[in-house]
């Protein structure tokens, strides 16, 4: 097996601390399972204008 450094074991060992972007119900179901979650109240950036989103991503 290739011996690259991996952090995936850290995730498996847990605990999961999640940032949820999107469906609120996903955050709720994680909370029901005693997972800590930060819900991001996401909306399409730049009014959903894709060219503007790409430009913003490059700038930030």
């Amino acid at each position: 097996m290739e011996k690259k450094p991996t952090n995936v074991m850290d995730l498996l060992e847990g605990p999961i601390i999640a940032v949820n972007v999107g469906l609120n119900t996903f955050a709720e179901s994680l909370k029901q399972q005693n997972v800590e979650v930060v819900q991001v109240e996401w909306t399409p950036p730049a009014g959903g204008n894709k060219a503007m989103i790409e430009l913003l991503e490059k700038l930030l």
């Binding site: 995936v8 074991m9 995730l11 060992e13 940032v19 991001v40 399409p44 009014g47």
Partner: protein, 513 residues
């Protein structure tokens, strides 16, 4: 007939909340059609399809909410729009002024120990958010579909550089340390690890392991394209390395569509190096056992994968088998005898992509020619996904049906309509269904479909035919929907119920000649 719409500018809601509002709206007496959507271009096309247009719709953008109603009278339209606005005001939208955490950067600043981003936004925005997550050092669970292939490759390469894991895109399910992400079932922990490119395949496998009294260490979804030549299995390899090292994982199962040949070669090497017993199930592939490492056992169905993994975890290898019990065969014989002369076709109206593949594989193995909108054999594709032909199994979770709509495991509306449409075909002999329970799935999936099942069976009966309905339920006793109650409701609607899709398919085939 009358119609109307309302635009609520700069009010963003997620699709599940909007689905709930639309369900209430469509239940109002006199409402014929309704839509509650954000103003993205795809959604505006859906509105045009139901005859809703106007300047307000034209200028609306992805952050503007659109409510539209077609009803018997203008009074009903006005009343329905008014009521739906009141429901929305009762909940309150996401407006920039009222929320504190609006970016991942802010979330990570608040919780520097965060280690996983769960992303379920529209596919066109998902890659940008996944890049932000990786930049912040987070692993990614990417539920969103319709993410461009080149973005997937770039994200997974970036993740590999950082030692991070990208689950998805189009990843329905994972279970990490017993915690379900996305559409996942309540499954106990145990010694079996699983890596799956197929969401429902992962759910079915985990449920069967649980229902047999065993458990799952971790179940890692990788996304439907991960083992393609283009992506090269980057997430599968990362997951495999982690499960190989994980002391709690004694056996690893791998469920996927057939990998690209060059990916398979590298995969086999990695599997051998893992040092753990491996069970592989590549849907649609005829197992090629030459050159297979001795630690790797290939099987053809999820049921056999679960049986084999359990056997290997117990150190007692089993010869997996998939067959009906004598009692089930007897029942099949008696139902087959009730068929009328003209009833010849089997039709599957399925929500799970893996179930659709597995059904085709099993039926093909039995010598049946089966068409599909997601065909295993490309020459058996359906020209029009809305119209079945001959024996057919339809994946209602395919992009064709889910663009700008919730997945059929979350909202049964389209499946209900399709069941009724199939039920009207006098040549229909067997209707095959799947029900998937778990976190984030519909809270009453059978309730959404049972009316259509009963109506189809009743109208067939009125015309002197007996319509057989065969359904599988994927779930566990810990799932929020109540597995036993859902199965009972299916039986009460007249369905023969199985706890596995593979066995439901076998039984369905036994009802044909």
């Amino acid at each position: 007939m009358s119609s109307g719409f309302k635009v609520r500018p700069n009010q963003y809601f997620d699709s599940i909340f909007l689905m709930g509002v639309n369900k209430r709206l469509s239940a109002i007496d006199g409402v014929r059609q309704s839509a509650v959507l954000m103003g993205s271009p795809a959604n505006k096309r859906l509105l045009a399809d139901i005859g809703i247009s106007g300047e307000g719709v034209d200028v609306a953008g992805p952050n503007d909410l659109l409510l539209a109603v077609v009803a018997d009278t203008s009074q009903i339209v006005e009343d329905a729009l008014g009521r739906s606005e009141a429901w929305i005001e009762g909940r309150g939208g996401v407006s920039p002024a009222r929320t504190s955490v609006r970016t991942q950067a802010r979330a990570v600043a608040d919780r520097p120990d965060a280690n996983l981003a769960v992303l379920s936004i529209a596919g066109e925005y998902a890659a940008a958010e996944a890049r932000k997550a990786l930049k912040a050092g987070l692993h990614v669970f990417l539920f969103s579909s319709n993410v461009p292939l080149e973005d997937e490759i770039a994200l997974k390469r970036q993740a590999a550089e950082q030692g991070l894991l990208v689950m998805g895109p189009d990843c329905g399910t994972s279970l990490i340390g017993g915690k379900g992400l996305g559409l996942a079932n309540a499954v106990r922990r145990g010694a079996i690890g699983v890596i799956a490119s197929a969401g429902t395949g992962l759910q079915e496998f985990a449920c069967q392991v649980h229902n047999a009294g065993f458990g799952i260490s971790h179940a890692i979804g990788t996304g439907s394209r991960d083992l393609s030549a283009a992506v090269g299995g980057l997430s599968t390899f990362a997951a495999l390395e982690a499960l190989a090292r994980d002391p709690g994982t004694e056996v690893i199962a791998l469920l996927s569509k057939p990998p690209a040949p060059e990916t398979l070669r590298r995969l086999l090497t990695r599997l051998e190096e893992s040092g753990k017993p491996i069970v592989g199930c590549f849907f649609g592939a005829r197992p090629e056992t030459s050159g297979l490492p001795p630690s790797v056992q290939l099987v053809q169905t999820i049921d056999e994968a679960a049986q084999t993994a359990i056997g290997r975890a117990q150190g007692a290898p089993v010869a997996p088998s998939l067959q009906l019990t004598p009692l089930e065969k007897e029942l099949a014989n008696s139902l087959r005898a009730r068929r009328s002369h003209g009833q010849i076709w089997l039709r599957g109206v399925l929500s799970g992509g893996t179930f659709c593949y597995q059904a085709q594989q099993i039926l093909r193995g039995l010598g049946l020619e089966v068409r599909s909108n997601t065909p295993l054999d490309q020459d058996l594709g359906l020209e029009d996904p809305n119209r079945s032909l001959g024996h057919a199994v339809i994946d209602m979770g395919d992009e064709y049906f889910t663009l700008a709509r919730p997945h059929p495991m979350i909202d049964g509306t389209l499946r209900r309509e399709r069941i009724l449409a199939e039920g009207r075909d006098p040549e229909l002999a067997v209707l095959l269904l799947d029900i998937v329970l778990g976190f984030n799935a519909s809270m009453d999936p059978v309730g959404e479909l049972s009316g259509a099942i009963i109506e189809s069976r009743r109208s067939a009966q009125a015309q002197g035919r007996d319509l057989a309905v065969v359904a599988s339920v994927c779930g566990t006793d810990g799932d929020p929907q109540d597995l036993a109650a859902q199965a009972k409701m299916l039986e009460d609607a007249g369905a023969v119920v199985f706890s596995s899709n593979a066995r439901a398919v076998l039984f369905s085939a036994a009802l044909l000649d």
